[in-house]
Amino acid sequence: MLSIKDLYVSIDGNEILKGINLEVKPGEIHAIMGPNGSGKSTLANVLAGKEEFEVTQGEVTYMGEDLLEMAPEDRATSGLFLSFQYPVEIPGVPMVNFLKTAVNQHRIARGEKELTAGEFLKLMREKKEMIDMDTQLTNRSVNEGFSGGEKKKNEIFQMALLEPKLAILDETDSGLDIDALKTVAHGVNALKTPNNATIIITHYQRLLDYIIPDHVHVLYKGRMVKSGGRELALELEEKGYDWVKQENALQ
């Protein structure tokens, strides 16, 4: 589904990603962990198509296509979804307009009929229940005045509406209370099929108690320095990153 080969990324001349390799197959859940500033969000944003980042080397194929050649909106409509670490507030753009446009753009790309206002509201109601989203929030402008946790929940709500093939969740768990964490995890699990995949970027093992990863990777200073199974996350939780850093320094 997703294949990243030897990816190098810079911003303003600073090299942030230094040779990333990652293979994600349908049905898999990957977790990426790593200390602050190691490049996790950079990777997520490059995959979503943020233009400020310059890919200096390497390639990324997504569903058989050259992902790096695609516009952000085309990546999205072909099923790639990024749950932002810091969702932006867009005053003046009503949530409902935004969501309906997004859903319909996805449908147009798939050659489906656009939803009418009524059909859309019905879909929205359904998904709101699923992740326990407050109606009051969808009556506002996009993320405007949302609390940190509400913003994260809103990301998952959008994910539920758009039903992506590959979801990248960038620290979606940070800022969520215990109950919200469970609902979000439940939402992610409910949306899981053998055909889609998820990349979870997180600092905490806790989320991985609810969403069981098939693979865990450690990103450090722009490199994937360690990969393993679920137990790697537990080990990190216990020992912190020092041992990884030391190991890496020895190499």
Partner: protein, 455 residues
């Protein structure tokens, strides 16, 4: 009709022209207008057509607009064309009292005026001032020829315009819609003088649509004086939609008494050069003024909103929000002056000007000015000039919304705050639609009339 031919200094040229035609200007004009002309001439010559060295016109160069040879229309021209038949409203729900003003002259065959509530008078200023001068006791008391050369020039040439009188406690439910048409065989200089008096406890909504009928050059210089009585209210919507080869200078003066409310909203989509002078005097306690404006301009358009709010009495409130989207090489200016006079305590005055520049060549100048002579006041002002928020744009695109549409959403969002201030719902929907079309780069006009009307 006469044409200016001399090529002397611009201001002198206009003064000389006035001297040449003054007899025909005086002829048939009401006394109160003729009485102004002498002083107006002196005031105009003293001030001249402003260059950019004049502080109040620093950001707008009027000179080029005065250079072409214009025709003046000193006599009411009785048209055979029935304007009522030419124009038909295309906003199904926008039910208004419709009247036309053509080249500054109130159109005599307006229909529907009979439906106005009892005592409400809408008509030609020239006629009203001749027939009922008593209703114009306050004429020219707000618009001083000494302070602004464009007001002086207006007084010099003024012959007609619209007159509106709303008697005590009258409530005009349907908005009054005035369509200002510029339509002439030749490049034309248009002068329009308007007068509105809203008596105590009366309420009225006014929709003004400016429109050019052909591509001739027009220079329009209008002055409007508005008196809002105690506890009365005014909603004033100006929809500016001249073609880009025209220039218009609009000076509106609003005097408010105790407990009154006046809201103005300028929506500028088309027009070559537009200068809006707007001066409020809050002259009674608890008066409230809201000034809104938005402009979407491109190519070489220029829009300058120049506001002055004078808090003359305590406990008044004023609020200004002006938003501009500038594309291509367009230029804009906003100057907002708030003056709180001594003893106008407990004043609340707020002002904001936000601008979105879509290119590197677009230019916006913004100048707030607070003059505060009282000590217990709340005043704030803010201005921003920026580009579209790239992070927000990326967020929308990352949800599958294509770039062009995402930009549109962002621009619509930008002006949303102003559009939602339009309290006449069908008008708001219409403006929304026109703005959307404008942003998409389509002509935001109907076949003939820029707003609501089609042939």
């Amino acid at each position: 009709m006469s044409v200016i031919t001399e090529k002397a200094d611009l201001s002198l040229k206009y003064a000389a022209h006035y001297n040449e035609v003054k007899e025909s200007l005086r002829e048939g004009s009401p006394q109160i207008m003729n009485d102004l002309r002498g002083t107006a001439l002196q005031d105009f010559i003293r001030q001249g057509i402003p260059t950019r060295k004049v502080e109040n016109y620093k950001y707008t160069n009027l000179q080029p607009s005065f250079t072409p040879e214009y025709e003046f229309i000193h006599q009411r021209i009785t048209t055979e064309v029935d304007l009522n038949a030419i124009f038909r409203c295309d906003v199904p729900q926008l039910d208004t009292h419709l009247a036309f003003v053509s080249n500054g002259w109130f159109y005599e065959n307006n229909r529907q005026l009979s439906e106005l509530p009892e005592g409400v008078l809408l008509g030609s200023l020239e006629k009203m001032a001749t027939e009922q001068p008593g209703l114009l006791a306050k004429f020219a008391t707000l618009a001083s020829t000494a302070d602004d050369p464009m007001v002086a020039l207006n007084a010099l040439y003024a012959k007609d315009g619209y007159f509106l009188y709303v008697p005590r406690n009258a409530r005009v439910e349907k908005p009054i819609q005035l369509i200002n048409l510029l339509q002439s065989e030749n490049d034309t200089f248009v002068t329009q003088r308007n007068f509105i008096h809203i008596e105590e406890g009366a309420h009225v909504k006014l929709i003004l649509c400016d429109h050019t009928m052909n591509l001739n050059k027009y220079l329009s210089n209008s002055v409007t004086e508005i008196f809002v009585g105690q506890n009365a209210s005014l909603e004033y919507y100006a929809l500016q939609n001249h073609h880009n080869n025209s220039a218009s200078i609009n000076s509106v003066f609003i005097h408010q008494e105790r407990d009154s409310t006046a809201n103005t909203l300028y929506s500028t989509l088309h027009g070559g050069l537009i200068r809006n002078n707007l001066k409020f005097i809050l002259d009674g306690e608890n008066a409230e003024a809201n000034l809104y404006g938005m402009a979407f301009i491109d190519r070489q358009q220029h829009v300058d909103n120049f506001t002055q709010v004078i808090h003359a009495k305590p406990h008044c409130q004023s609020n200004q929000i002006y938003k501009n989207v500038l594309d291509d090489e367009s230029t804009g200016a906003f100057s907002g002056r708030i003056h709180v006079v001594r003893d106008a305590q407990k004043t609340n005055a707020f002002q904001r000007n936000n601008n979105l520049l879509l290119t590197d060549k677009a230019l916006m100048q913004t100048k707030p000015q607070l003059i505060i002579d009282a000590d217990d006041v709340k005043c704030s002002h803010g201005a921003t000039i920026g580009q579209i928020d790239e992070d927000a744009l990326f967020y929308l695109r990352a949800r599958g919304i294509e770039e062009k549409m995402a930009r549109l959403m962002m621009m619509n969002a930008f002006t949303h705050e102003v559009i939602q201030q339009v309290k006449v719902e069908p008008l708001r929907d219409r403006i929304d639609e026109l703005v959307d079309k404008r942003l998409r780069g389509e002509m935001a006009r109907c076949h003939d009339c820029a707003y609501n009307c089609e042939s």
